[in-house]
C-alpha cells in the first residue's frame, strides 16, 4: 500500500477525531431544534397525520394571551429572585466555610455536605418533604409562625405568595451548588495576593474582599451566573409536583406551560413556539453574559 502524503494523513486524522461528534451534534441537537422551529409555525398535534401552516399565530397566542403573558412574567419574576439570591448566598456561604476551614476544618466539611445535600437529592422527592413542611395546618413553618404569634399562611395555595414560595425552594436547591463552585474558586486564589493586600493596607475584611476576593472570583462568578440562570429558567419539578402551575395559573412558568400544552393537550405546534421563545431567551442571556462580562473577568 502506498503511504499517503503527510498532509492528507493529518487531515484524515482530524476528520476521524472530529467527525463522529460533529455528526452526533447535527442529528441530535441541530436537526431537532430546526424541526421544533418549523413546528412552531404550524398547528401540528402529536399523533396527527397532517398540519396546517399558521405563520406567527402560535407566537401571537403566547405573547397576546393573559395565560401566555403570565407564564412569561412568572418565569421572569422567579428568575429575578433565584439568580441574585442563590448566587449571593452561595458566595457568602462559600466564604464563610472557606474561612471556617482554617479553625474548624471538620465542622466546615460537615456544613459543606449539608449545604450540598439539596443538590444531590432528587428534587421530586424533596418536593414531598417541602409539601409537608409547608402544609397549611400540619407544616412546621406554619406551626412555628403560630408559636411566634404570626398568622398561618397557605404557602402553596395563596395566589399572592405561591411564586415566592417556589422561588425560595429554588434558592434552597441552588445555593449548595453555587457554594461548591465558589469554594473551588476561592481555593484557587493565590495566598500571596492576600498577603500583598495586607501589606498595602487592604487587610480589613471588606477591603480584602473588594481588592482580592471579588475580582479574583470573576471567572467563577460568570460561570455560576450562567449555570444558575439556565437552571432557574428551566424551573419545572417544583411547579409540577407542588402546584401544577396553580392556583389559577399563579405559578405557571414557561417550561411547565410547555409541558402542559405539549404533553397534556398534545398541542405540539404551540409547545414548539414556547420552546423557541425559551431557547431564544437562554441563548441571548448566555451570549450577553459572555460578551459583556467575559472580557472584564479575565483581565486581558
Amino acid at each position: 500500500m502506498r503511504v499517503l502524503p503527510r498532509s492528507i494523513r493529518e487531515t484524515l486524522t482530524d476528520a476521524w477525531l472530529v467527525g463522529p461528534a460533529a455528526v452526533a451534534m447535527l442529528t441530535f441537537i441541530f436537526l431537532p431544534v430546526a424541526a421544533v422551529a418549523v413546528f412552531s409555525f404550524t398547528d401540528y398535534q402529536f399523533g396527527a397525520n397532517s398540519f396546517a401552516w399558521l405563520g406567527l399565530e402560535n407566537y401571537e397566542r403566547l405573547f397576546g394571551s393573559t395565560l401566555g403573558q403570565r407564564a412569561i412574567t412568572n418565569t421572569l419574576l422567579y428568575v429575578s429572585i433565584v439568580i441574585p439570591a442563590s448566587v449571593g448566598l452561595g458566595l457568602v456561604v462559600a466564604i464563610g466555610l472557606h474561612r471556617m476551614a482554617e479553625w474548624a476544618p471538620g465542622f466546615s466539611n460537615v456544613l459543606r455536605a449539608v449545604y450540598f445535600l439539596p443538590v444531590a437529592a432528587t428534587l421530586v422527592a424533596m418536593s414531598v418533604a417541602w409539601q409537608m413542611v409547608l402544609h397549611p395546618s400540619l407544616g412546621v413553618v406554619n406551626q412555628a409562625l403560630v408559636a411566634l404569634g404570626g398568622e398561618p399562611r397557605s404557602w402553596l395555595s395563596d395566589r399572592g405568595i405561591v411564586l415566592y414560595t417556589l422561588a425560595m425552594i429554588g434558592v434552597w436547591q441552588t445555593v449548595g451548588y453555587n457554594m461548591v463552585l465558589f469554594l473551588a474558586g476561592l481555593v484557587a486564589i493565590p495566598k500571596d495576593l492576600y498577603d500583598a493586600a495586607e501589606v498595602d493596607g487592604a487587610g480589613g475584611n471588606w477591603s480584602r474582599f473588594w481588592t482580592v476576593t471579588w475580582p479574583m472570583l470573576g471567572p467563577t462568578t460568570l460561570f455560576v451566573l450562567v449555570i444558575t440562570a439556565t437552571n432557574a429558567f428551566r424551573v419545572f419539578e417544583t411547579v409540577a409536583t407542588l402546584t401544577q402551575g396553580g392556583p389559577a395559573f399563579a405559578s405557571d412558568t414557561l417550561v411547565y406551560a410547555l409541558y402542559r400544552e405539549g404533553f397534556v393537550y398534545f398541542k405540539a405546534g404551540y409547545a414548539s413556539a414556547i420552546t423557541m421563545v425559551f431557547f431564544v431567551i437562554l441563548l441571548v442571556l448566555t451570549l450577553a453574559q459572555f460578551r459583556l462580562v467575559e472580557r472584564r473577568v479575565h483581565y486581558r
Binding site: 498577603d195 500583598a196 501589606v199 475580582p215
Partner: protein
Amino acid sequence: MTLPALLELQNVSRRFGQTTVLDDVNVSINDGSFTALLGASGCGKSTTLRIIAGLDRPTEGRVVLNGAEVAEKTAYERNVAMVFQSYALYPHLTVFQNIALPLTMRHLGTLGRMPGLGRLLPNARAARSHIRQKVGETAESLGLSELLHRKPSSLSGGQKQRVALGRALVRDPVLFLLDEPLSNLDARLRIKMRGELVSLHKRTGKPFVYVTHDQTEAMAMADQIVVMIDGKVAQAGSPRDLYDHPANKDVAAFIGHNAMNFFEPGDGLAQLNGVGDKAVIGVRPEHLVPDPDGALSAHLETAEFLGSETVLGLRTQNGKQVTAIASGEVDLPAEGSQLNLGVLAGRFHYFDSQSGKRMTEVTPS
C-alpha cells in the same frame, strides 16, 4: 555595636502544630543595611520574613521595630513594604492602579475610592492628584511610564517585577522586604535587576531584607548575610566574614560559588597537615591550585573551561574526589595525568569532625 538596630527578632520561634519551623532565631537589622536571609528551601527564611512583615506571628519571642514591640501590629501598621516572588500584582488593576493601591488605601476613604463618587468629594480630589503625582514619579524612576495603562497579564516578567517594586517604593516604608524577587526571571535579567536593586537600596537609604536561596545573589548584594539552616540561624555576618570564617561545615558548604572540598581524617590531607583525626579540613576549590611543589597529588579527571577560569575535577590516590580551580590562562596537562596541588597560605578551614563547628586552633597531634 553602637547603632541601635532598626528591627530585631529576639529568640523568635515558630511552630506549626508539631513541626518547628523557626527555633530561637535572633536577627538584627540596622538602619540602611542590606540584609540577605540565605538558606535552602524549607529552612525557615520565608517564615522569618513573614514574621518581620507581620504576616505571621512568632509562637515565642519578640519582634522589636524602632525600639517597640510590634508582634500585635499588622504589616500595614508597621509600614513595611514587601515584594513577592510571584509579584502578587492585582490582575484586574492597571499598572497605575497597582502602584497606587497602597496610597489609595491610605489617603482615600471608602467613599473616595468609589470610581464615580470619589470625583465629587473635594478632599478626595486633592488626594487623587497627590497620588497621581507620586505614582508618576515612582513609575518614571523605574521606567514604567509607558506601561501605566496596561494590565499585568500583558507585561513581561521583568516588567511585572518593576511594578511590584513600584508598589513597594511608592509609599515610603520604613523597611523593604523582598521574598526571592528575582527567582522567576531569566539569568541575564536577574543579574541586571540585581544591580538595579542595589542602586535602589542606595537611593532610598532604607533597610532591605532580602530572602534568597542563591548565595551568589546574597554575596553580591548584601552587607549582612544571615545563613539559616533547619530553622536556626547558622551564622550572621558580612559576606567576607562568611567566606573567610564560616562558623561551621554547613555554612562553609553553602557559601562560595564552587562547593568547598572537605577532607575527612582518612582522606590523606589531615596526615599531611598533622592534625590527626580531630578535624575535617575544608579547602575552597579556588584556593586549591596547580602547584609543582604542592603537597597533594591527584589525577586530573575532568576540566571545564569557562573562559576566565577552568574547573578541575580530580581524584587523589585515596580515591577522594576534589575540585580545584585554575586560571583560564594556565595550560593544563592532558586528562588522566598526574597533577600536584597546593593550598594557598592561610586558606585552610578546620571543622570539628563530630559537631562540624569551626575550630579556631588545631594543635598538631
